[in-house]
Amino acid sequence: MRTAGITSRAHPLWLAYILHRLSGLGLALFLPFHFWILSLALTDPARLDGFLAFTEIGAVKLAEFGLVFLLAVHMFGGLRLMALEWLPWTPPQKTLAAGATALSFLIATLFLMQAV
């Protein structure tokens, strides 16, 4: 009988795993809906315009932000997993790679902010 909870999951590697898994599930649920909406451009343009009007609503804009976040998290999670399993890197090499990715992401975001 076990009454103490499993707290052994509270570490970065496990959190990275669950973030990757949940973002993947979120995308799997969303993408069929997304493609169905896009298909309306061919089958029912008037209805598509109705949906597009939704995107002006603040809450929907926020949800779209969430989707981009899910995509980004899932992509980085996948890249991380492939590097982890396919590249026999030493821990310092992994740290360097993660640092380089974070730095380039920061610089790219700065350029993006300037453009906006």
């Binding site: 052994s8 982890l84 399993e85």
Partner: protein, 237 residues
């Protein structure tokens, strides 16, 4: 600190956990606490230990939900508001109180071909081992495993799939695969690429995080994934 009393809850199966008041001391390990309970409060408490210095791997338990070697875990590091919760290792059948049946763990060790595949006899000269070769460095990284089953208890994949060989057995397979004196390459790759093999691993990393000897079974399993994939694309060579 010396006079402080610890509230120690120990999981004991039906009818439920027991709570004991244990005198606190400086330099007190979780195993000391369990021993105090057995010697002073309840002689029927069953638990397992042998060396008390982190070599034999027999005293691992769940401490506040985390698998730990109790003989090298100071109470001061894990105590929360004067309380500690101790239970039997996760993912293994409980025999009684804090004692688990380690058979599934050791059976999987053999199931992963974690046995010596020798080529020489005692009459042959001892083969030289190049300590600096890349393969030997990989093998050396995993040889300090003490079979304590902490990684096995930490792994959610083991919890979800009873057939999964688990981190310790797979790490031993990876060690032998890189050992110049072991000739079991095909047998090992075959054993670790089956339904309970290395490809079940989701790289959650709890094995590497909680290994008391700071080994890295997750990276060892990643090595097996690479080797089995290479072997598949080379058609078994």
């Amino acid at each position: 600190m010396t006079s402080k009393t610890l509230s120690v809850t120990i999981d004991r199966g039906a009818p439920g956990p027991d709570t004991f008041d244990v005198p606190g001391h400086d330099n007190q390990t979780v195993l000391d606490v369990v021993s105090w309970v057995q010697q002073n409060a309840d002689p029927t408490l069953s638990y397992r230990f042998a060396c008390r210095v982190g070599m034999c791997g027999s005293c691992a338990m769940m401490v506040n939900g985390v698998p730990r070697w109790t003989c090298r875990t100071h109470v001061s590091k894990v105590v929360q508001d004067g309380a500690v919760h101790i239970g039997p290792l996760r993912n293994l059948p409980v025999v009684k109180d804090l004692v688990v049946d380690m058979d599934p763990f050791f059976d999987k060790w053999v199931g992963a071909e974690g046995v010596h595949h020798g080529t020489l006899t005692r009459d042959d000269p001892i083969a030289a081992v190049d300590e600096t070769s890349a393969a030997r460095v990989e093998a050396n990284a995993g040889i300090e495993c003490i079979n304590c089953s902490v990684c096995y208890a930490a792994c959610d994949t083991v919890a979800g799939n009873p057939d999964y060989l688990g981190p310790a057995a797979l790490q031993r397979a990876w060690t032998l695969l890189n050992d110049a004196k072991d000739d079991g390459r095909l047998a090992i790759l075959d054993a670790v690429s089956g339904s309970g093999g290395c490809h079940n691993c989701h790289s959650m990393g709890s094995c590497t995080t909680y290994c008391p000897n700071e080994l890295d079974p997750m990276s060892a399993i990643a090595g097996l994934k690479r080797e089995t994939a290479k072997s598949f694309f080379r058609r078994g060579r």
